[in-house]
């Protein structure tokens, strides 16, 4: 009995440390994104890359909805409902892949400029590329927790992997919340 409560205390201690570690990583990663964000305004000022507004809005909505389902997946796991977790996390995964297709498969292909075409090319491809790489990492993370969830690794009391993946996924969302207006909305389209 004592061993069990010691075990729980040790788990909770590790959980606190894990949370702190993940947040420190995300803050440092956030500084890189902040650097890109500032670079966009330094290089382009009040003009923005010439992009397809419809695609920008759709991929943004897709990513926001994916965050909603990620939150539901984590919530179900927190309440011990593995089925709900698997269902909602699978939807998150599909939406994450759709976002990647929208940015890399569509927007990159139809953009009327390439990565080497001046400031707008450099800004757009580096910002979306670096962000898309994080989405890809998040998709891999989602696949891992889905596989673990299917095997019954997570319980209502112990599901740090799910929580970490959810925090990481929402971080990607927060970055895009700032990148979307910076790339698509603010300023006049450059020609």
């Amino acid at each position: 009995m004592v061993g069990n409560s010691e075990n729980t205390a040790s788990y909770l201690h590790k959980l606190g440390n894990n949370r702190l570690g993940l947040w420190l990583f995300l803050i440092s990663d956030g500084f890189v994104f902040a650097g890109l964000f500032i670079t966009r305004f330094y290089l382009m000022g009040n003009s923005r890359p010439e992009l397809e507004q419809g695609v920008g809005l759709i991929v943004t909505i897709v990513l926001l909805i994916s965050s909603f389902f990620m939150n539901r997946g984590e919530t179900y796991m927190k309440h011990g409902n593995v089925k709900g977790f698997l269902f909602n996390t699978t939807i998150t995964l599909v939406l994450g892949i759709l976002f990647l297709v929208g940015v890399v498969g569509v927007e990159w292909q139809i953009a009327p400029f390439g990565p080497s075409d001046g400031a707008q090319g450099a800004v757009f491809y580096v910002m979306t590329g670096f962000h898309a790489f994080h989405v890809l990492t998040g998709v891999i993370f989602l696949l891992i927790i889905l596989n673990n969830g299917r095997k019954g690794v997570y319980t209502r009391e112990r599901h740090w992997g799910v929580e970490a993946c959810a925090i990481y996924w929402h971080f990607i969302d927060v970055v895009w919340i700032f990148f979307y207006p910076a790339l698509y909305l603010i300023g006049v389209a450059a020609h």
Partner: protein
Amino acid sequence: MANDLEVANMSEEALNDDLRAGVWVAFLLAIFTIGEFVAAMIAPELGWLLLIAALPKAYFVIRDYMHIGHLFEGDGESH
């Protein structure tokens, strides 16, 4: 038996409360996103002011989806 049923109902209620909080945040995100898109189409000269819509969006995601509050609860007091 009655006690078990009560506990099950309470946990079902807690789950629904948590899910509702998620829906509320999604609703706010949708409103702000549509708002900033419409504002940019109508008045592109707003420029930097459009970033104002991004701040509450980021705030709600960090507070309600990323649960930043858990960081300050000591050694993993809550899940």
